[in-house]
């Protein structure tokens, strides 16, 4: 079995995604407040943060699904807030996305789901499409599932189909929105192994929104914490865990620390439970 984990803090190539002073509000609530973040080509950026802190909103800005109220979202040097529909489509041709709930087309078979980008975006013949889809399904250990429908698959299998679809056109950037949500430990590890295997092979830049801390640190080159609508800091996983930034310390304590803040508190809960 392949070992997960790699050397972190890779410098990477030129900036591929740059968020500059991005502000986004929904009605009166400011979700992103002057957020700036740079993601370099070939690296893995993990975005962490508590629920409702704006991780998914940040991701949606990078995907061009939301436009900022202020600031710039530069992808390949093009500002997604100001590009035309055609230019946005060109940018997205370099994207692969694994959604939190996978977003497979439930009325299509697994094969058709994975084949869709090839059918709609290339002029390949059906034989070539079949060969490529089967190759990706096999890469995801999904041989023999092509004729099944998403509803007939387990959660882990759906995620793998989603990953196969995201990677079918060999994108330059792959976005993962909570890739292991709803999966047990062994299925989560399976997804991480596949991520590691495919990234090593296809060399894509990865942006992962996750709260699977600390496991996700093994895959990250950089970790950015979103809290109170801001990127608190963007550091290597090692530096992140040792950071003195109060927001990071609090996040690390909450996610990696013990469940109870003291032995007395633990005993108190235990005794309450006995009663």
């Amino acid at each position: 079995m392949e070992e997960i984990g790699k050397e972190t803090g890779k410098e990477g190539g030129k900036p591929i995604i740059e968020l500059i002073d991005v502000v986004k509000s929904f009605k009166q609530q400011k979700v992103l407040d002057r957020v700036s973040l740079t993601i370099r080509e070939g690296t893995t950026m993990v975005i962490v943060g508590g629920s409702g802190q704006g991780k998914s909103v940040l991701l949606k800005h990078m995907l061009g699904l939301l436009k900022p109220d202020q600031g710039k979202v530069l992808v390949f040097g093009r500002d997604l807030a100001r590009v035309s529909k055609g230019e946005l489509k060109d940018v997205r041709k370099e994207y692969g996305v694994l959604f939190q709930n996978v977003a497979l087309f439930d009325s299509m078979t697994v094969f058709d789901n994975v084949a869709l980008p090839l059918r709609e975006r290339t002029k390949l013949g059906e034989n070539e499409i079949r060969a490529q889809v089967e190759e990706k399904l096999s890469m995801m250990d999904l041989e023999g599932t092509g004729e099944k429908y998403p509803a007939q698959l387990s959660g882990g299998m759906k995620k793998r189909v989603g990953l196969a679809r995201a990677l079918i056109l060999n994108p330059r950037i792959v976005f993962f929105d909570e890739p292991t949500t709803g999966l047990d430990v062994s299925r989560s590890n399976e997804i991480y192994r596949l991520f590691y295997k495919t990234q090593t092979r296809l060399k894509y830049t990865a942006v992962i929104v996750s709260h699977d801390v600390p496991k996700i640190f093994k895959l990250a080159d950089y970790v950015a914490l979103v809290a109170d609508g801001k990127i608190q800091e963007c550091l290597t996983p090692e530096d992140f865990q040792l950071s003195e930034n109060p927001a990071i310390k609090s996040f690390v304590k909450e996610t990696m620390g013990p469940i109870y803040s003291s032995e007395e508190e633990e005993m108190g809960f235990y005794e309450a439970d006995q009663r």
């Binding site: 996305v97 939190q100 087309f105 439930d106 869709l116 709609e120 679809r165």
Partner: protein, 262 residues
């Protein structure tokens, strides 16, 4: 008083916003129809869904509408001794008004609701976001085949409705009440003009466009619904709204087209 005014202003901007969004949506969908590549498969599948699978309900409603028209028409015409005009009364009523309107209302109930729910569920489960992120235009990929199918299917279904309705009227008028068979068809032949048929065709084309436009856009913009578009309840509420709005719009446009073309 201020609260009342605020509410009116809020409603006004909400509906203006919704109308603007739907207008832009229609523009993109029509553009999607014109933009290559042209794929026949999805359009044929939609014609099968909207058209062929509505056939049974159209046959059924068409037959009974023609029958009841003949029943009521015979009752009224007999009072003035003009039973011979039964054919023209049935034919004109069906071709100019009832055929296009009832066909459209049946398609709203059968296909319009299904389209709204399908697109709404796709919106809720991020399938439409997924399409956009794959650089696949949902207006072209999802909507254009539905629009083409609606515009093709409605006139064909209306034609079926009219023909079956005329034969339904024949069964009651000629078969039950003994109206002269020749008078039934001759009356229809001499009173129905090309402009009546033209009006029926125009109506069914417009209704086809309206049904798909309202159903698809309501589903597509489910997340903008003020009453909350998320979850199963949101989809069901939006589908109900789409059906009601489509039905009312059809009746309003029916009047407008009649007034313009008369």
């Amino acid at each position: 008083m201020m609260k009342y005014l605020e509410k009116i202003g809020d409603d006004f901007f909400y509906y203006l916003d919704q109308a603007g969004r739907m207008g832009i949506f229609l523009f993109h969908c029509l553009l999607g129809i014109l933009k290559p590549p042209y794929k026949l498969g999805p359009t044929i599948r939609q014609i099968h869904f909207i058209g062929a699978r509505s056939l049974f309900v159209i046959l059924f409603t068409g037959a009974f509408t023609g029958m009841v028209l003949a029943l009521q028409g015979y009752y009224a015409l007999r009072k003035v001794g003009s039973e011979g005009f039964l054919g023209s009364a049935v034919g004109l009523s069906l071709i100019r008004e009832l055929g296009p309107v009832l066909t459209a209302l049946m398609v709203v109930g059968r296909a319009g609701s299904a389209i709204c729910a399908e697109i709404g569920i796709m919106r809720n489960s991020e399938q439409i976001d997924a399409l956009e992120c794959m650089a696949i235009d949902p207006h072209k990929y999802l909507m254009a085949p539905k629009f083409i199918a609606g515009i093709i299917s409605l006139p064909l279904l209306t034609f079926v409705f009219d023909v079956i309705g005329i034969f339904g009227g024949y069964l009651v008028g000629v078969g039950m009440f003994g109206v002269n068979e020749g008078a039934y068809f001759q009356g229809m032949y001499s009173s129905v003009e090309w402009r009546d048929i033209h009006m029926g065709i125009v109506k069914s084309l417009v209704f086809g466009l309206l049904i798909i436009w309202i159903a698809a856009s309501k589903g597509y913009f489910l997340h903008f619904e003020r009453s909350g578009g998320f979850g199963a309840e949101g989809v069901s509420r939006t589908t109900t709204n789409a059906v009601v709005l489509s039905s009312v719009t059809i009746l309003v446009w029916n009047y407008l087209i009649t007034a313009i073309l008369l």
